[in-house]
C-alpha cells in the first residue's frame, strides 16, 4: 500500500518559510491499495490537495475521521470529489451519545461558520459511526478503537494481507500514568499498534511543553517513542507537529531523541508531500 502525507501539522495550519519541509497543512494521510482502493485518514487542510490529485473518474472515496476537532475536518468542504455528482463518499467517524455524525459535521458545514451546507454537496454521501465492528473496504480490513484524547476519538489499524499501518494522530497514552509506559494491557492504543509495520503517531510536544499541557490529548516526543517501543512497531512516523515548531526545531528534536534512545525501529518524521510504500 502507498501511504502519502498531505498534512502533518497539528492543531492549526501553519504555513511559513520556517515550516516548508515538514509542511503547514493539518492532518490528512491517504492510503492507496493495489486494487485502487483509496482510504483518506482525516480531513485537515491537507485534504484539499489530495482532492485535486485524485483521478476525475474516481467512483468511491472512503474518509476515516479520527475525531471532529477542527484541524481534522477543516479541509472537508474543499475536497473536490465532494462536489462531483456520482462519486460515492463514505465518511466514518466516532459515534456520540447525542447527535449523529452527520449532524455534528453540519455544525461546521453550515452558516455562519461555512456558507455551504452538507446537503448542497453533489456527491453521494454516506455516514458511518464507529467503533463497533471491523470495516472491510476493498483489500483492507480496518479496525477502529477509542483512544485517549478529549471527546470521543478513534484510532485506526489498516490491515492488508501481510502488513498493517496504525494511525493515532492525536493520542495521549501517558495521561494519568504515574510512570509511562504502563503494562501493555493498560495502555491506550496498544491493540491497534501492536507489531504494526508503520505507526503514525502524535509527537506534538517536547518534554518541557508537555508538563504544562497534560490532558490536552497529545504526546510528548519521548512518550511517543516509548509507545512505539512498547508496541513493537517496525517503522515509526512522528506526526501532528506543533504549529510553533519550525523545521529546524523538529530536526533538532527528532535527532536528539533518536540519539538518546537509539530505537530498534526505523524512524521517518512525517513530512507533507512525502510517500512511503508498505509491502502487503
Amino acid at each position: 500500500m502507498k501511504v502519502t502525507f498531505w498534512g502533518t501539522r497539528g492543531s492549526l495550519a501553519s504555513p511559513s518559510p520556517e515550516t516548508i519541509r515538514y509542511g503547514g497543512n493539518t492532518s490528512c494521510v491517504s492510503v492507496e491499495g493495489s486494487d485502487g482502493t483509496v482510504i483518506v485518514l482525516d480531513a485537515g487542510t491537507g485534504i484539499r490537495k489530495l482532492g485535486q490529485s485524485l483521478p476525475p473518474d474516481i467512483r468511491r472515496v472512503n474518509i476515516l475521521l479520527t475525531h471532529l476537532h477542527m484541524d481534522h475536518i477543516q479541509g472537508l468542504p474543499f475536497f473536490l470529489p465532494l462536489r462531483r455528482r456520482g462519486v460515492e463518499i463514505h465518511i466514518w467517524g466516532p459515534a456520540s451519545t447525542t447527535l449523529a455524525l452527520n449532524s455534528r459535521l453540519q455544525k461546521y458545514l453550515s452558516p455562519p461558520l461555512f456558507p455551504v451546507s452538507v446537503r448542497e454537496l453533489s456527491a453521494d454521501l454516506h455516514f458511518h459511526e464507529l467503533p463497533g465492528h471491523v470495516i472491510e473496504i476493498g483489500e483492507f480490513s480496518i479496525h477502529a478503537q477509542l483512544i485517549i484524547h478529549p471527546n470521543p476519538t478513534i484510532g485506526y489499524r489498516i490491515q492488508c494481507d501481510h502488513a498493517a499501518i496504525t494511525y493515532l494522530p492525536d493520542h495521549e497514552p501517558a495521561l494519568g500514568s504515574h510512570t509511562f509506559p504502563l503494562e501493555k494491557e493498560w495502555t491506550s492504543g496498544y491493540t491497534l499498534a501492536e507489531g504494526s509495520d508503520m505507526l503514525i503517531h502524535d509527537t506534538q510536544y517536547t518534554e518541557e511543553e508537555y508538563q504544562t499541557r497534560v490532558g490536552f490529548g497529545h504526546s510528548s516526543i519521548r512518550h511517543a517513542f516509548q509507545f512505539a517501543s512498547l508496541t513493537g512497531v517496525k517503522h515509526f512516523i512522528p506526526f501532528h507537529h506543533d504549529p510553533t515548531h519550525s523545521d529546524d526545531d523538529l530536526d533538532r528534536m527528532f535527532k536528539q531523541i533518536v540519539d538518546e534512545l537509539n530505537p530498534s525501529y526505523e524512524v521517518t518524521p512525517g513530512c507533507e508531500g512525502s510517500s512511503l510504500e508498505v509491502a502487503c
Partner: protein, 131 residues
C-alpha cells in the same frame, strides 16, 4: 495481547488518584483493578495479585449484615451492577486482614461506554465506622 477498553483504562487512572477504595470489574465480574485504598479491604496488593476471578474476590472479604450473617455474592452491589446492569447500593460489614471490623457503604455502577458497549462495573466504598 489485547488491551482494556479506553473507558476502563481512564476509570483506572481516576481510581489511582482517589483516596476512596474502588473496585473495577470486567463484564463477567472478574476484578481487573483495585486501587491502593481497596487493598486494605481485600488484604492483598494489586501489584501482587493482578486480576482476580469473581468467585475469589466476592468471598475474600467476607461481607456480613448487621447481625453477622454472611451476604451471598449475588447480593453485593457490584455483582448486581453487572448482572442486572443498574446501580446498586448497600451497607455491610467486613473484617479486614488487620482484624478491624469496618462498616462500609458501597455504591456500584455498570460501566457503559460509547455506542452502549457494556464494559463491566465499578464500585466505590465509603467507610462509615470501624471497631
Amino acid at each position: 495481547m489485547s488491551q482494556q477498553e479506553i473507558e476502563v483504562i481512564l476509570s483506572r487512572h481516576l481510581a489511582e488518584y482517589l483516596a476512596m477504595p474502588i473496585f473495577i470489574v470486567n463484564p463477567v465480574g472478574d476484578l481487573i483493578f483495585y486501587n491502593e485504598p481497596a487493598e486494605v479491604i481485600l488484604g492483598t496488593r494489586y501489584s501482587e495479585t493482578g486480576s482476580m476471578p469473581a468467585s475469589e474476590w466476592a468471598t475474600r472479604f467476607q461481607p456480613t449484615d448487621p447481625e453477622g450473617k454472611p451476604i451471598p455474592p449475588e447480593e453485593l452491589p457490584l455483582v448486581i451492577a453487572i448482572t442486572q446492569r443498574h446501580p446498586a447500593h448497600k451497607i455491610f460489614w467486613i473484617r479486614a486482614l488487620d482484624n478491624t471490623v469496618r462498616e462500609l457503604e458501597v455504591t456500584a455502577l455498570p460501566l457503559i461506554g460509547q455506542a452502549d458497549r457494556f464494559l463491566g462495573g465499578i464500585a466505590i466504598f465509603w467507610e462509615r465506622s470501624r471497631k
